[in-house]
Each structure stands twice: as structure tokens, then as C-alpha cells.
């Protein structure tokens, strides 16, 4: 038996790959559910019902998907250029804390001014946080995996320092959380009596913008060329270092924007558990979408649905809610296999 690279990857295979991967992951995880002593169909039924059944389920899933779309886009933008930004978590927190710091002060601006300005600040905070690793990478060849990864811890500890110290809300009864942002800084709700906010629309716009840039802009083609073959791109006169820095900054901006939107639309303040690992989950989302910006939206919705549904499944059937993590992780692994099989075929 040997593997052979396909001459052309059929378009159907690219669509079928994530679907097959998710189905494979769900069937693998059904073994775990059965082992936990629950009925597989009933458990998955509860999961689906909770995350997609009814207005509440759907809005809750889309609310959870919003930060995942941003961090997924952040991963896709960087990975396309082969800049391995593993630090979306840190950039997310920097965007969030910047918005919490500025948004809690009343400058007397109208919402039409306040909201865009805060979003820009959040994006810039994320970009600033990745600028160091990006410059170190192109100037000295420092591995960005290490620097971006380690800066995650710096970001979380910094946020922890701020929310326990100078930024602590005096009315929080001693809980480590920042002062809430003022009303004019809050993103309005999208659906009444739900937590879904306009941030979701922003996320969709961001996905469309990234898709357009990748497909139609000089910057997009340069990024893709650098990612596929830096030596050939350099030889063709593309300024590889500049493209890498731009892609990294873009990635940081998207992650920072994600953090800003989460604070402005959902939480209103920052705590150290603002993100239950949106940075790492963003990498999974991006991989599930094979770095396609438009594919990131459904991929993020899938991952969000698993997290939303898992709690209900745990309550109703006694299956540990960690099963959501297992499903998401398994689907990433299956996706890698599925993508491989889309690119190659097995021959006797």
C-alpha cells in the first residue's frame, strides 16, 4: 500500500473533508459516551438540542462562536504566511484589557464615536503585543512559536496583576475584576432577550474582509506566496520580511479585536477567566476550515456548539462535560487525516 499525491484535489473532497472529520470524531467519541454509561443517541440529541434547538440555544452558540471566529481568523491570517502565531490568547487578553481600561472612563463621546475608537484600540493592543515576536523573527530568526506561546503567560499574568491591583473594581467585593465599561461603550444586542450582540456581525464582516484580501489583493497573493515558498517569493521580488510582519500584525489585530468585542458585547469587564482558551481553540477552528476565512465561520459555530451543548449533556446524562474538549480535539486530528486523504490517495 502506498500514498500518492493527487494531481488535482477535487472540490468535493475539500468540502467533504471537514464533514467526514466531524462525523468521524463524533463516532469515536460515542465510544467514550457509551463507556460513561449513557445512551449515545440520547446524549448527542441533548447536545444538539441544547446548542441548536430553539432561539436560546442558537443565540448562545453564536455568542460563543464570536470570539472563536476572531481567533480563528487570527490563526488563518498568520498561518497562511507560515507565521506560527500561537499567541492569540495573549493578544485577545491585551485587546480586552485595553478596552476595559479606556472604556471604563467617560470621555463624553457618543456611542457612534466611542465604539469604533475602542475597537481600534483593542486591535492595536493585540497588534502591539505581537510586534515583538514578529520583529525578533524577521531580524534575528527567533522562533515565533516560542515567543508568541510564552507571551500568553505574560499577558494573563499582566491582566491578573491589573485586575487585582490598579484596575480592580472597588464595587466588586474584592473579586479580581476590572471596572465595568460605560454604557456608551457597550455593543448593542442583536436579538432581544439573548446574549447575542453585534460583535457577531463584526466577526462575519471580519471573515468576509479577510476572504476578500486573500483572494483579491496584492497583499493576499504575496502572503500566500510567502507561505507556500519563501525563497521563490523572495526571488520574485516580494519583500518577505515585510509581508511576514504585516501578516503577524494583522493576526494580532484580529485576536485583539476578538478580546475587545468580548468585553464590549458580552462581559463588560475583564477577569482572568475571560477566555476559556479561545486562542488555542482558534487554531483548531482555523485548521478545521483549512485556513479558508469563510470556512472559519461554520468551523467556529461547530466548536462553539460542542462547548454549549456539552454542559447540558453532562447534566442530563452524567457524561463528564470534558467530552466537549475531546470531541473538538478528535475532530482536529480527524481533520488533519481527512485533509491528507483529500490531497493524497491510497493505492495498493
Amino acid at each position: 500500500m502506498r500514498l500518492e499525491r493527487r494531481e488535482r484535489v477535487p472540490a468535493l473532497a475539500l468540502v467533504a473533508a471537514p464533514v467526514a472529520a466531524i462525523l468521524a470524531a463524533l463516532s469515536l467519541c460515542s465510544i467514550l459516551i457509551a463507556l460513561a454509561g449513557a445512551s449515545v443517541l440520547a446524549a448527542y440529541g441533548t447536545l444538539l438540542n441544547e446548542s441548536f434547538g430553539g432561539r436560546l440555544g442558537i443565540t448562545e452558540t453564536l455568542t460563543r462562536a464570536t470570539p472563536l471566529i476572531f481567533t480563528g481568523l487570527a490563526a488563518a491570517v498568520a498561518f497562511r504566511a507560515r507565521f506560527w502565531n500561537i499567541g492569540a490568547e495573549g493578544q485577545f487578553y491585551m485587546g480586552a484589557i485595553a478596552v476595559a481600561a479606556l472604556g471604563s472612563i467617560n470621555f463624553g463621546l457618543s456611542p457612534m464615536m466611542e465604539i469604533p475608537l475602542l475597537l481600534v484600540c483593542g486591535a492595536l493592543a493585540g497588534a502591539c503585543f505581537i510586534a515583538g515576536p514578529a520583529i525578533l523573527k524577521v531580524q534575528f530568526g527567533v522562533d515565533e512559536v516560542v515567543t508568541t506561546l510564552l507571551l500568553n503567560f505574560v499577558a494573563i499574568l499582566l491582566v491578573s496583576l491589573l485586575v487585582e491591583g490598579p484596575m480592580r473594581d472597588p464595587l466588586s467585593f474584592g473579586w479580581p475584576q476590572s471596572e465595568p465599561i460605560i454604557d456608551t461603550a457597550v455593543l448593542p444586542h442583536l436579538v432581544e432577550r439573548s446574549r447575542l450582540h453585534w460583535g457577531f456581525v463584526l466577526a462575519l464582516l471580519a471573515a468576509a474582509a479577510v476572504a476578500f484580501l486573500h483572494a483579491r489583493s496584492v497583499f493576499g497573493l504575496s502572503t500566500i506566496a510567502v507561505g507556500l515558498s519563501a525563497p521563490a517569493a523572495r526571488h520574485a521580488g516580494i519583500k518577505v520580511e515585510r509581508v511576514l510582519i504585516m501578516a503577524a500584525l494583522g493576526s494580532g489585530m484580529l485576536a485583539g479585536l476578538g478580546g475587545a468585542v468580548e468585553v464590549m458585547g458580552l462581559k463588560g469587564y475583564v477577569t482572568t477567566d475571560l477566555s476559556p482558551g479561545y486562542g488555542a481553540a482558534g487554531v483548531i477552528v482555523a485548521m478545521l476550515a483549512s485556513l479558508n476565512p469563510l470556512g472559519i465561520v461554520p468551523a467556529a459555530v461547530f466548536v462553539a456548539a460542542m462547548f454549549v451543548g456539552a454542559d447540558a449533556m453532562a447534566r442530563a446524562h452524567g457524561v463528564p462535560s470534558f467530552i466537549a474538549d475531546v470531541i473538538v480535539a478528535t475532530s482536529l486530528l480527524s481533520m488533519l487525516v481527512a485533509l491528507f486523504l483529500a490531497e493524497y490517495r491510497v493505492r495498493r
Partner: protein, 506 residues
């Protein structure tokens, strides 16, 4: 007497490609057989099947009458087959002795039997003229010496049949001669030899018999005695190839001048104070054995590195800060040595590669946004004008054959009418038809007043299209010689470092 080697009905298919189609071949004891064919004809596949790296779909391999198990290199070695690959399989940081004995001793032996190995190797080296310092580090050896180590390694493992894949590709003409006399002395002791080649003259001079492969089929098998180059070439290509001929043109003004240019560290592929003058309407060839500074020169003229000393002038303008797009705007086109790595982004579509070097040109983008329709139209023009076969603008570039990929790279440059063309190994690995096509295009550009700097290791190519030649050796360039005043032997000696006044003239 049973033949040393017998291949019967060997068939191997890779996807759509039939790499070997029912090949029958035998090798007598003490015989030198040349396997002739273009790139992609299936020579290397056949040898890899023989050596057990690949498993054939059908057919059998017999060595001294006994059938070899499939896909088992260890069995092939045990049966007495030794293989010298085109890319050596040596560990650079180990000594020659270690490289040869590695894998022949039990892993947990308490003491190694080095002195016995050493004595045997001295004996082998003496018998076959394969002198190398057994204690030298392999990385410090020349390519010719490394090849001797590879051959010694096979002999040490008691090979009776030696297979050499393009053994002369990296050697100077003199080193090649020496290799063939070694091979001859081995056959006198009863060893059998197969060497793969696409160089007709060495096949005719040094092999007893030649087998010609074309598109996976064995198309001819005959003694070399009485065979002519033209006849073999036609068998190999399947048709008569018309090579373009160079007509003398009066050269014009100087386009590109290098004065005392150094780059990198000499001795390690750098350049040491080289001078050259490239004029309008001429092809200036820089010829030398690989690794003597060609790569540094090529990178310099691609705008990928800066000289550490000396000056580069284009049209009399001194270059200070160079980058690839800057040089391109000055009318310099660069054809890189490695098509797949530097020439194109192979996973992009053809039309994207067609515009990649001019992505910011107003024809292909406006306000930072691409104009895909214009780019596709441009690619269609290139496909038409440069005869890029079997391709559409949206074809994935990876799927092009080497020749068609090179036509794309050359075409996207030539269509802009560059004044200076720096071409590094432009025809390496291409079939004869594509070689003739590339040469024709370069000569056309020359008639259109361009100056062409041809960096090449292929003397045939140099004699076909160059007007003047400079030899590169250890980072230094010889003075330019008109091609009419040189000979293959003379250039060969200069490529090996001999001074011109001793040996340069014909």
C-alpha cells in the same frame, strides 16, 4: 555462463505514468552497460527497482541466476549489488573510514575491527586507483573524492555489480576520465557495471553496450561499437532534434560590469575579486564544476545578496542597494538555478506565477487589488507565445513538466524585453527538445541586443550558444576567452584549477 544480472518484464506504474514498461535487460560478467535516456525516461526507477528501493508491479530481477526478493535493499547488497547514487549518501561529519565501515559491523560489537578494514581498503584503493585519505572528514573532500568513497564503500561490501546513477554529472572532464579508467580496471577483475547517463559521448567511448530507454520503454539495445552519436540521440529523443545555431554578431556596449567583486567566504562557495564584462548581443558563459562560487554569483545578480567588496555596474550606473525588484526594473532578468524552489511557487496557479514578479505593475493590480482577468489574459499570452504545452492559466504550476515550467519562467521574463539575462543552469534536467527551445529563445534575445550571462556546468551547452567563456574555480574567474579559442579539454583543465597558460588553448 549465467549473466551477472537479468531483468525480466519489469513494469512499474506511478499514477498515470508508466515509468517502466515490461523491460528486459541483461548484464554480462565483466561488462559495462550504459543506460541511456532523457530525464523521466525511467532509468532511475529501473535501477531503484533493481536495488530494492521500489517494488515493481510485475517482473523479476535475477542476480547470478538467483531471484532477488522484492523491495529488500539488504538482500540486493547481500547478492552483490552496489549502488552509487547521484546524490551521495555520506555523513559529512564522519571520516572516510567511518563512512565505509558504518553498518557493516555488529551494533554491539565490543571492539571494532578497524585495522583489518583499513588494510582491506588500502588494498582495494591500490588495485582500482581509488586513492583517498581514510582519515579525512568527508565534508572536506572534493566531489570527485566523495564519489570514490561511495565506490569504495560498495567494493568493501563485496559488490560484484556496480550501478552508478549519472556518475559524471558533478565531475570535470578529467575526473570523468579517471573514473572510467577505474571502472575499466574493475571490469578486468570480473565486476560488472551499469552506469546511467544522458551524455552520448561518454556512453559511446566507455560502455560496451548501451540500452536506450524512452518513456519507460526499452527502445534499443546494442553494442556501442559502430554506434553514432546522432543515431543514439535520435533513439533517445524519438525524433530528430534541431539545435539552433549561433551566428556571430558584433557585440555592442557593456551592459553589466563587475569589478573586483567578492561575496561570501572564498573556498566555501564565495566569490573572490571577480571581474566580468557583459556586452550587448553576446552570450558570456561562466563555466565550472558545481560549488565553485556559481551560486554566490547567481544570488548576487538576482539581488538576493550584496557584495562584500568591489562594484557592480549596470549601464554604467553603480549599484548600491540592490533587491530583486530593483534589478528587474533596471532591465535585468534572472533565471534561477532551482526552478521548483526559486523559480516558481509551485502550488500557485500558472497565472499567479506569471505575474508574481510584477505583482505591483499597473497592468496586474490597482490600489493594492489584483486584476485577475488581466493576469489570466497575460498568462494565456505567455502560454501561446512560449509554447507551454498542456497548460491553462489556472493550471497548478506544480503539474507542469520541467521544460514547460522553464518556458514559463523564461517567457514571463523575455516578454518584458530585458536587456540583461542572467541564466543559471537554464537547461539542467530538461529533455533535448526543451533544451533546444530554451537555447533558441536565448539566442533570439541575443539578436534583439540583450546580453546573456550563462552560468553553466554543461560544456555542450557552452559550446553551443556561448560567444565568450570564463572559467570559475574556487571563487575566482579566469580572463574571458573567445569560444573559438577553447577546447573541451582545455576548459576541463581550467575547471580543475590548472592555469590557462599551461592548458587553456586548444
Amino acid at each position: 555462463m549465467t549473466p551477472a544480472l537479468e531483468l525480466a518484464g519489469i513494469t512499474k506504474q506511478f499514477g498515470q505514468l508508466l515509468a517502466n514498461d515490461r523491460i528486459n535487460l541483461s548484464l554480462g560478467r565483466g561488462e559495462v552497460l550504459a543506460l541511456l535516456g532523457e530525464n523521466g525516461a525511467g532509468k532511475t526507477t529501473l535501477m531503484n527497482i533493481l536495488f530494492g528501493h521500489y517494488v515493481a508491479d510485475a517482473g523479476s530481477v535475477r542476480v547470478f541466476g538467483r531471484e532477488l526478493p522484492k523491495g529488500d535493499p539488504a538482500a540486493a547488497i547481500a547478492a552483490g549489488i552496489g549502488m552509487v547514487h547521484q546524490h551521495f549518501t555520506l555523513a559529512g561529519n564522519l571520516s572516510v573510514l567511518d563512512n565505509i565501515t558504518i553498518g557493516t559491523e555488529p551494533l554491539f560489537a565490543l571492539r571494532s575491527r578497524r585495522s583489518r578494514a583499513r588494510a582491506r581498503l588500502h588494498d582495494l584503493a591500490r588495485r582500482f586507483g581509488l586513492q583517498v585519505d581514510l582519515d579525512a572528514r568527508v565534508a572536506d573532500l572534493s566531489v570527485g573524492e566523495q564519489q570514490r568513497v561511495e565506490i569504495l564503500k560498495s567494493l568493501f561490501r563485496e559488490a560484484r555489480i556496480l550501478i552508478l546513477d549519472e556518475p559524471t554529472a558533478v565531475l570535470t572532464p578529467q575526473e570523468s576520465e579517471r573514473l572510467f579508467s577505474t571502472l575499466r580496471s574493475m571490469t578486468q577483475e570480473g565486476l560488472s557495471i551499469v552506469f546511467i547517463s544522458h551524455k552520448l559521448h561518454e556512453v559511446i567511448t566507455h560502455a560496451d553496450r548501451v540500452a536506450v530507454l524512452r518513456q519507460g520503454r526499452l527502445v534499443a539495445e546494442r553494442p556501442t561499437q559502430g554506434a553514432s552519436r546522432a543515431e543514439l540521440a535520435e533513439l533517445m529523443v524519438g525524433r530528430r532534434v534541431l539545435h539552433p545555431s549561433r551566428t556571430p554578431l558584433p557585440p555592442g556596449r557593456t551592459l553589466l560590469r563587475l569589478q573586483g567583486v567578492s561575496a561570501g567566504s572564498t573556498g566555501q562557495g564565495g566569490l573572490a575579486a571577480v571581474d566580468l564584462d557583459l556586452r550587448e548581443r553576446e552570450v558570456l558563459a561562466i563555466v565550472g564544476v558545481a560549488g565553485n562560487g556559481q551560486a554566490a554569483l547567481s544570488r548576487l545578480l538576482a539581488g538576493l545578496s550584496l557584495p562584500t567588496a568591489g562594484s557592480i555596474e549596470i549601464d554604467g550606473h553603480h549599484l548600491r542597494r540592490v533587491d530583486p525588484s530593483g534589478l528587474q526594473q533596471m532591465g535585468l532578468a534572472h533565471i534561477p538555478e532551482d526552478r521548483h524552489k526559486e523559480g516558481v511557487v509551485s502550488d500557485l496557479q500558472l497565472y499567479e506565477n506569471a505575474i508574481l514578479e510584477r505583482i505591483r505593475d499597473r497592468r496586474f493590480s490597482a490600489f493594492g487589488l489584483l486584476r485577475p482577468r488581466a493576469a489570466r489574459a497575460h498568462a494565456a499570452t505567455l502560454i501561446e507565445a512560449f509554447d507551454i504545452r498542456g497548460a491553462k492559466p489556472t493550471t497548478r504550476t506544480r503539474l507542469l513538466s520541467g521544460g514547460n515550467m522553464q518556458k514559463l519562467i523564461l517567457g514571463r521574463n523575455l516578454i518584458e524585453k530585458p536587456r540583461i539575462i542572467v541564466a543559471s543552469q537554464p537547461t539542467r534536467g530538461l529533455d533535448e527538445g526543451a533544451v533546444a527551445e530554451i537555447h533558441r529563445r536565448l539566442l533570439e534575445a541575443r539578436s534583439d541586443d540583450a546580453g546573456i550571462l550563462l552560468i553553466s556546468e554543461d560544456l555542450d551547452e557552452v559550446f553551443r550558444i556561448a560567444d565568450r567563456v570564463q572559467v570559475i574555480f574556487r571563487g575566482r574567474l579566469s580572463a574571458p576567452l573567445p569560444i573559438e579559442q577553447t577546447s573541451e579539454a582545455g576548459l576541463g583543465l581550467m575547471m580543475a584549477g590548472e592555469e590557462r597558460h599551461e592548458a587553456g588553448t586548444a
